[in-house]
Symmetry: C2
Subunit: 130 residues, 2 copies
DNA sequence: AAAAATATCGCAACAATGTTGCGATTTAAT
DNA sequence: ATTAAATCGCAACATTGTTGCGATATTTTT
């Protein structure tokens, strides 16, 4: 496999993730980068960061796609089996690192990855009495 | 609210769902309809069917969106809180009506809806030794 | 059964999101 | 400094979904 390089654009994208408490869409990243690089470049950087397990992709109930930094603190080989919360009011997506669903599968299925997304109101919006 | 009508196109779409064991994307539906109606019409029919709780929307890990018939057998007021299985080999999506995850949420979140998608190999592809 | 009301349709146009090819540029290794 | 390879920018294209509007079809009213 190819070796990935550190470039200005990649560093900038990582900084945007670092600063953000929530998951970000391609468009949101692009806005924050303020023209530092091309739209296509961002796509390609996101692809590389995903291959390197630095970020992961989250797709929403409404079909929108976001990305968030991986939290490597716990496991060596990590699977993104944590939950995500999607606020229907502010549309922010946060990783719920500690929420892990338990479930019983019918046999004959081989489960490799799970995606567990909850939606409703986040603490912020809940407090704002919306 | 508007009253929805039964049209040729809507009936055709419903038949496609009836015949299918798995969830379908807009494109897949369009192919099966074989030019019976316009692309836009299919979108509008899907919208109406969702409002009428006849079908539900499923968005995948990879960002693709599919639709499936609702199973109304159990509850009067139903929430689509069952799980979906997405096969990484044949890309079929099936509803796992009986799989319901249990989980513990941090307080301060108000959960209204959940989306639980598992991916891996479906029984068919598992048996094919892939 | 005809007329009126309105839901639905088809078409065209547009918007958002994502992909690909390719020559130019930058990075990292020698 | 040279070189090989990864990355970039641009243009072009593909896919998916949306909107406006006049035409058509369905349902209700008379």
């Amino acid at each position: 496999m190819k070796k990935t390089r550190n470039t200005t654009a990649k560093t900038a994208v990582l900084e945007v993730f670092e600063k953000s408490r929530t998951a970000l869409s391609h468009t949101e990243i692009q806005k924050q980068l303020n023209g530092i690089c091309d739209r296509v470049t961002i796509y390609r950087i996101l692809e590389r960061l995903m291959n390197d397990d630095i970020i992961h992709k989250i797709s929403n109930l409404d079909g929108t796609v976001k990305y968030a930094k991986c939290n490597h603190s716990h496991q060596r080989v990590h699977i993104h089996n944590h939950a995500h919360f999607s606020c229907e009011n502010c549309h922010e997506i946060t990783c719920l690192e500690n929420v892990k669903p338990s479930y019983i599968m019918p046999h004959n299925y081989k489960v490799k990855e799970i995606n567990f997304t909850l939606s409703g109101l986040c603490p912020n919006c809940l407090n704002s009495n919306i």
